[in-house]
Amino acid sequence: FDLFLQMAATQDVKGKGEGGDQNFDYMFKLLIIGNSSVGKTSFLFRYADDAFTSAFVSTVGIDFKVKTVYKNDKRIKLQIWDTAGQERYRTITTAYYRGAMGFILMYDITNEESFGAVQDWSTQIKTYSWDNAQVVLAGNKCDMEEERVVSVDSGRLLAEQLGFEFFETSAKDNINVKQTFERLVDLICDKMSESLDTDPAVTTGAPTAKLTDSAPPLQQPGCNC
């Protein structure tokens, strides 16, 4: 976990400027992946900007947003990378897997093909990321109940099989968006604390406070709609 801690530890963001907020305790790099048009960009916009538009604009290559969250008086800066889902961008998107501490693997509950691709995306994570990366499976568009083709149970079962946490979400109706990110952050913090417990020597240069002292209760994974 040495590298894991080093990556999470306070980083020096060079530069200056009005937006350059360098006061944070940890920097977590997260990726949102999944088939094209499952709602990755909308999900990120909802979380980072609390905004939603139904107009579909296909993401070109890769993009990201930054959001700061607080956990036990620690400021955690999230670098959230939004990836294009199309195969043609696979080379450029997988290049950003390296160094990611967490993934939101997203499918669309109204699109069977996107659910069927989850296993492949999981393999991509295993291939291009590292073993310690944490993953949350998100079944998005749960506001579209009438068009649902993937049941909650199917999603939950697949998540269990893959060893991932699971949420059904809606970027449109703002359901479980924040919870998904918060859970992913918790999982990463848990891993960091495990690392600290296992080998205190690796804490050199990193903050020593545990981030899991008062972990919040698990959220309801189903879609309450």
């Binding site: 094209s36 199309q86 080379t91």
Partner: protein, 219 residues
């Protein structure tokens, strides 16, 4: 297009206007009716333009991306990733090397992520990572003595020339490519008036009037 910006040094609106102008001009060029039926890009209502975010401009080296979309999936079939180089701005920047004061946090992060490569290399890498159906188009604005016209180089094989230039100076690096097509857009008529395949170290800024009147991607 909005009127020219009066305030010196306030280049951001000017830059945006340039992109807007280039976009409209080049769209017109792409819709140009080719009398010899040599146009490879068959443009339909599936033609799409996506402006990059400030972060994407740094990460991918592209200011915007044109794409011919496949129906009904909307998957891009042919893409042209465009990077604008404003030559007068570049001269100013070289004289005054200090970076702009307003630089958001996310832009700083993007710069840090991409610090090992130039903007040109990033665009070339981006296109190469997609494949031969993705073209990189460098558009040049503000050529001295010809500020109204836009020059450009287009290729899906720029990567073949990376490292072969013996001159590090910005656009010369691009313009000394082994093989590429040149596009010349006339500012007054806003139409493509000449293109040509160039060989070995022809300077894009020295194109003469003998070029042919059609657009043909032949790489």
């Amino acid at each position: 297009m909005r009127p020219p910006v009066a305030k010196l040094g306030d280049f951001i609106p000017l830059f945006n206007d340039c992109i807007s102008a280039a976009s409209s001009r080049t769209q017109e060029y792409l819709l140009f009716k080719d009398p010899e039926n040599n146009v490879c890009l068959k443009l339909t209502d599936t033609f799409n333009c996506t402006a990059m975010t400030p972060e994407q401009r740094i990460l991918l080296g592209a200011d915007w991306v044109w794409a011919v979309l496949e129906k009904p999936t909307k998957n891009p079939q042919i893409q042209i990733a465009v990077q604008v180089l404003h030559l007068l701005e570049r001269e100013d920047a070289e004289e005054n090397a200090n970076p702009p004061e307003t630089c958001s946090e996310s832009v700083q992060i993007a710069q840090k992520e991409s610090s090992n490569k130039t903007m040109y290399e990033r665009l070339v890498d981006f296109c190469a990572s997609i494949g031969k159906d993705c073209y990189a188009l460098f558009l040049f604005f503000g050529k001295k003595n010809d500020k109204e016209n836009i020059y450009g180089v287009l290729s899906n094989n720029f990567e073949a020339a990376i490292g072969k230039s013996d001159d590090d100076a910005s656009y010369k690096h691009v313009s000394s490519l082994i093989e590429f097509s040149a596009v010349y857009l006339n500012g007054s008529t806003q139409k493509l008036i000449k293109t040509h395949n160039l060989n070995s170290r022809t300077n894009i800024l020295q194109l003469d009037a003998s070029l042919e009147r059609y657009f043909h991607i032949t790489f």
